[in-house]
Amino acid sequence: MVEIAVIIALLPLLAFVIQIFFGKRLPRQGDWVSIGAIVSGFGLSLYLFIQMLTRYDPGFVITESFTWIDLGSFKINLGIYLDNVSITMLMVVTIVSSLVHIYSMAYMEGDPRYSRFYAYLSLFSFSMLGLIIWDNLFGIYMMWELVGLCSYLLIGFWFEKDSASNAAKKAFITNRIGDFGFLFGLLIVVTAIGSFTLTDIAEGVASGKLSGGWLTAAGILLFCGAIGKSAQFPLHVWLPDAMEGPTPVSALIHAATMVAAGVYLVARLFFMLSLDAMIFISYIGAFTAIFASIIAVTQNDIKRVLAYSTVSQLGYMIMALGAGSFTAGFFHLVTHAMFKAGLFLGSGSVIHAMHHAMHKLDVHDDPNDIRLMGGFKDKMPTTYRTFLIYTLALSGIPFFSGFLSKDAILGGTLAFAVSQSNPIHYLLPVFGFAAAILTAFYMFRLVILTFHGEPQRKDLYENIHESPKTITIPLSILAVLSIFIFYTLPGINPFSAAHGWFEHLMAAPASAVAQFSGHPVVDISEHTAHSSHTLAMIISIIVALSGILTAFAIYYWKKMDVEALTEKMGVLYRLSYNKFYVDEIYEATVVRGLLMWNNLLSWFDNAIIDGLVNLTAWITRHTSALSGKFDNAVIDGMVNEIADITQGFGRQLRRVQTGQIQTYIFAAVVGAVVIILVRLV
């Protein structure tokens, strides 16, 4: 089994190597190599997945490791860790990745760096799959950085565009800031426990080698990595900009898989999170969820809306994990991967069509701008239908996968709030519900503006065509996968996945912290969980519907004037539209500050360190000038600092050498007398 997992990961790597060296010379620029690799990976994952389902064992774990570095007293072991979570994750990644690979055949057709694109996609697939199967933080950290690299390469794929290269750089550096925390956490863990392996860490935490404040610190710091990668506040700024990359990339990396890696990491580390760490994580998630959805409401770029939506949904997942709802968080990761990938691919389909239309008409407008769309549902029926399904799933409407997972999350946070003594924790479910309203609202705003109503630009509208099969088939597949039934089997209750395979197999791992301290980290009774769940379900259906209705009221039935509304909202609108000015604040403080600091240091290096003695030299020179003996011709440009003083010294000394023989004799006599006088004194 381990071998299969390794092969799944290595196939794309092989594809990458082939692509990078021979891609251009292969027929069809070798896209089939990458596609073949990932589809084979999908096949193998499916095999593992089916085995998992037939085994139906929640406690299934298999590990195998080898020594990577052995320094005698210090070893780094690397290994593979397969359990239900990682197998499911493999499945999700290979599905989405395969579909995106296929989708890209049409989308990227004719791009001058077509083979390079597939190479990067393969490298990404490798890194992501590797990240999933490593059994240790060190390997995860390595892959973590590699997926970051791929994200960088793919965001900046059209690097001729300054915006793309800026976005790529921003993504990487922002992630590095998060990774700094990750590294810090890693160091705490390895210092305390002496190993990176998840099993060793679990043992170490359980035996108290790492506990108390350091444990909390380790948990929070490791989570910092997730803040970066999963675009949580305050490091969320890179993700919307990442939409500069080709849309398939957005779908694969910046919606479905890589950004979920943060969530996956938190899930992996779930066993070692202390309560304080969990609360911190939960609040970060909750705040991000509401914060991003507020921004999403006012955006006009189709992909940016989706990007903020992604940030918001990732916040949900993080919030759930922090609140102890392991299964719910991971569940949402999986369902979200499907419909969010679909949404992006669907938007890609629209953009593709817009792009072609604009190209044909030779107009240069932004193909992503929803204000130029409208009424596309007739022109692009498949895209419209699938898009609608995803939207319903995302909004949390029953019968779709999103409803199940979102409901689980909200129920989980509600139960968490109930179980905690401090009532402030009710903020978490409140944020969750508020975000749910906004989600439903902005998603339907998007659907209505894009596909319904009057075409805003007739000329473009006339030239819009449905996308080819390679695009619509993946859309359809993902749409199907957004139906509830896949997640509730063997149960068929559209309102609860409680009896489905998913909830059965993805049970929360045993908490090592609890083992050490002897009491559960988050103690939620069966009853609380059940009642919260029911309550949450009702509320969430209501809020979703109200969000949808508002969207229809404003944008479809035009019950309210949008202009007037924005006027009315005033400050709030501007804050939302300008993304709360976070970028601007960073630009003004961090970026400017850093550059100024660098220039200061550079100046310091030239002027102070290097010129410390030049100053002395200057003084020497000027004293010499005063005495009228300054020799302007400083030895041919060899202005060396120490030599300058020495030379100043020498310049004074040589004046004694007057050429007068009597001075010489006199000086010698004086010298002798001085020696004798010194002796006397």
Binding site: R655, Q657, T658, G659, Q660, Q662, F666
Partner: protein
């Protein structure tokens, strides 16, 4: 009888006069005369010491050697000064400063 001190004081005075001449005279020959004074003070010392301290003739022999050396030195030096005079028409040493610093 004249004491050793007297000789020594006189010799020291001569030495100092010689030095002053060497340092102060502008004329090269004057400087050479200063050197002669110095050497003579040396001679005086040697002879005085030979008489009062050593009670041998070592000092006196040295004095004779010094006289010879002084003569040789003067000969060479005068030749050199003459050479200078031939080209500069002066033996003012303060003007001889082609090379300095």
């Amino acid at each position: 009888m004249i004491s050793l001190q007297t000789y020594l004081i006189i010799s020291a005075l001569v030495f100092i006069f010689g030095l002053i001449a060497v340092v102060n005279k502008k004329n090269a020959v004057g400087i050479l005369m200063g050197v002669e004074l110095i050497l003579n003070s040396v001679n005086l010392n040697f002879i005085a010491f030979a008489k009062y301290v050593d009670l041998s003739i070592k000092g006196q022999i040295i004095a004779i050697f010094v006289i010879i050396l002084a003569a040789a030195e003067a000969a060479v030096a005068l030749a050199i000064v003459l050479n200078i005079y031939r080209y500069r028409s002066t033996i003012d040493v303060t003007t001889v400063d082609l090379m300095k610093n």
